[in-house]
């Protein structure tokens, strides 16, 4: 019973924060509400004994992606007012899409393969490790897709660097390794001059 209370508690937070993401005026607040909704979905995952997914969600999305997101949102100072102008105009389409998606979800979840009729979820033994199980399946059954996903991420890195890194021709940067390697002879020239006689 307590599990259910916890579930509904986090589900409520998830729904409220998710709707706040799209309704609040301030983009920074919206981003922070998104963080909150990630958190509550992580909590729901924990209830499903999927601790690896839950913690990874927090680690990757909350700990890295959203931090960078906030970084950009704070720097850009976006004015959301113009973005909202079409709200009422697009509302019917939005509602239609939402209803359709809801319908699909209901239909699929009620189809045979989900088997909602069974009363209890599968309970695992106390020594069940979600992380180990996931690791096992990722490196056997899904080895091939997993490696391709790695290649996709590599392409993303290459593309991001290739598209953003440009060497400005006018930019002058110090090169520490050269600065350190400088010897006295490079900078100082000792000049020996004959002393000259003063014109008298």
């Amino acid at each position: 019973m307590i599990e259910q209370i916890i579930f509904y508690f986090f589900a409520a937070i998830l729904i409220i924060s998710a709707s706040m993401v799209i309704t609040v005026r301030n983009p920074v607040h919206a981003a922070l509400f998104l963080v909150l909704s990630f958190f509550s979905s992580a909590a729901i995952w924990l209830l499903l004994e999927a601790e690896f997914l839950a913690i990874t969600l927090v680690l990757v999305y909350v700990g890295a992606v959203m931090v960078l997101f906030l970084f950009v949102v704070m720097m850009l100072d976006i004015n959301l007012a113009p973005l909202r102008e079409g709200f009422t105009r697009y509302l019917p389409v939005g509602i239609l899409v939402a209803v359709l998606m809801l319908l699909f979800m209901a239909l699929i979840v009620s189809s045979d393969s989900f088997n909602l009729n069974q009363a209890e979820g599968i309970k695992h033994a106390a020594d069940y490790s979600n992380t180990a199980e996931l690791g096992l399946i990722l490196y056997t059954e899904y080895l091939y897709p997993f490696e391709i996903a790695g290649a996709i991420l590599l392409v993303a890195i290459i593309a991001a660097i290739a598209l953003t890194m440009r060497k400005s021709k006018t930019l002058k940067t110090p090169k520490p390794e050269q600065q350190v390697a400088v010897k006295r002879e490079d900078r100082v020239r000792l000049v020996k001059m004959e002393s000259e006689k003063r014109d008298t």
Partner: protein, 357 residues
């Protein structure tokens, strides 16, 4: 002790109020609460006296005496500081985002305290003995930055904002190196559970992971120094450049919470280094009678040593320039960790004694 409380003191009391099934859960919760208090009070006391230690140690390094007025040897100084900060007014700057301004210090302290839940103090004493302990630690340490970002943004002040921007870039950079270092530990120990990681180091001083994972050990600790925004990586505070960085607008209790979070984080990083690379509660003299016994005292001694390093760094090194910090993080630490991951994997697969046989 918990058994005793459960059987004699609480059970008749709880049993009369709730049905039996809830009783078990209520007792479980109560048990967890007591454990939390037992862990948190020493941590907070440790934070208070770490500030004292810092002032004393840096004082001696700089040939001064440090605090010596309040109480014998100045030992009551932290209490006096705490009292002073508690009674100061919290000023909320005009134009600040009030809600976030108040939430920010809380967000900064909460993760650094929550992370202590999975820290094992000896073979059995751990609040939550979960499988994914290492991941949990990583996730929570990565959250600490939120307090800083929000504080910088909500203050509506240029210096604070610059501080928080610096903190974000720095923490993102060093978190990756830190994560990779932890992956190395994970490969070496074959488990994400912190207790199992310590048990995997069982043996003598040479069995501990600091030896096979030497570069990761160094990278982890230095990345930890950077993650806690301590000198020489304290650019987000940088009192000589941007006054006090992200918490320039904070005063009184709000400021002291940031302070506590920073010191709690330092203690966390130190105890993690001790657990993951230096054998946790294991004794360096294993096999010797009495001295060889594993004990929490060993853990605390190792932790204190790393805390001392934190203070020593601060007294010794000048602050890094910002681009040098980024360079060190991205171009030095991350490549080192990646290379060493390959080495560790080879060591593990080849079952090199004495660590991986």
């Amino acid at each position: 002790m918990f058994e005793f409380i459960r059987n004699n003191l609480l059970s008749p009391f709880v049993g009369s109020l709730f049905p039996a099934s809830i009783e078990v859960q209520a007792l479980y919760t109560l048990d967890a609460l007591i454990k939390i208090i037992v862990i948190l009070i020493p941590v907070l006391l440790g934070v208070a006296y770490l500030t004292y230690a810092e002032r004393k140690i840096i004082g001696y390094i700089q040939v001064r005496i440090g605090p010596n007025r309040v109480g014998p040897l100045g030992l009551l100084q932290p209490i006096a500081d705490a009292l002073k900060l508690t009674f100061k007014e919290i000023i909320i700057p005009s134009g600040a985002n009030k809600k976030l301004f108040i939430i920010a210090p809380i967000l900064s302290l909460a993760p650094s305290l929550a992370a202590w839940a999975v820290i094992p103090f000896n073979d059995v004493a751990v609040l939550a003995d979960i499988n994914a302990g290492l991941l949990y630690i990583l996730a929570l340490t990565s959250l600490a930055v939120y307090g800083i970002i929000i504080a910088g943004w909500a203050s509506n002040s240029k210096y604070a904002f610059i501080g928080s921007m610096r903190a974000v870039a720095q923490i993102i950079a060093y978190e990756i190196a830190m994560g990779f270092a932890l992956v190395g530990v994970l490969i070496a120990a074959g488990s994400l559970n912190l207790g199992d990681i310590v048990r995997a180091q069982d043996g003598s001083l040479l069995h501990w992971f600091w030896l096979p994972l030497w570069p990761l050990f160094i990278v982890f600790f230095l990345a930890g120094v950077a993650e806690t925004n301590r000198a020489p990586f304290d650019v987000s505070e940088g009192e000589s450049e941007i006054v006090a960085g992200f918490h320039v607008e904070y005063g009184g209790m709000a400021f002291s919470i940031f302070f506590m979070a920073e010191y709690a984080n330092m203690m966390l990083i130190s105890i993690l280094t001790a657990i993951m690379f230096c054998g946790g509660w294991l004794s360096p003299f294993q096999g010797v009678p009495f001295l060889g016994e594993p004990s929490i005292i060993w853990l605390l001694m190792k932790t204190s040593f790393f805390l001392f390093l934190f203070l020593w760094f601060r007294a010794t090194f000048p602050r890094y320039r910002y681009d040098q910090i980024m360079r060190l993080g991205w171009k030095v630490f991350i490549p080192i960790t990646i290379v060493w991951l390959v080495v560790v994997s080879v060591l593990v697969v080849a079952q090199i004694p004495p660590w991986f046989d």
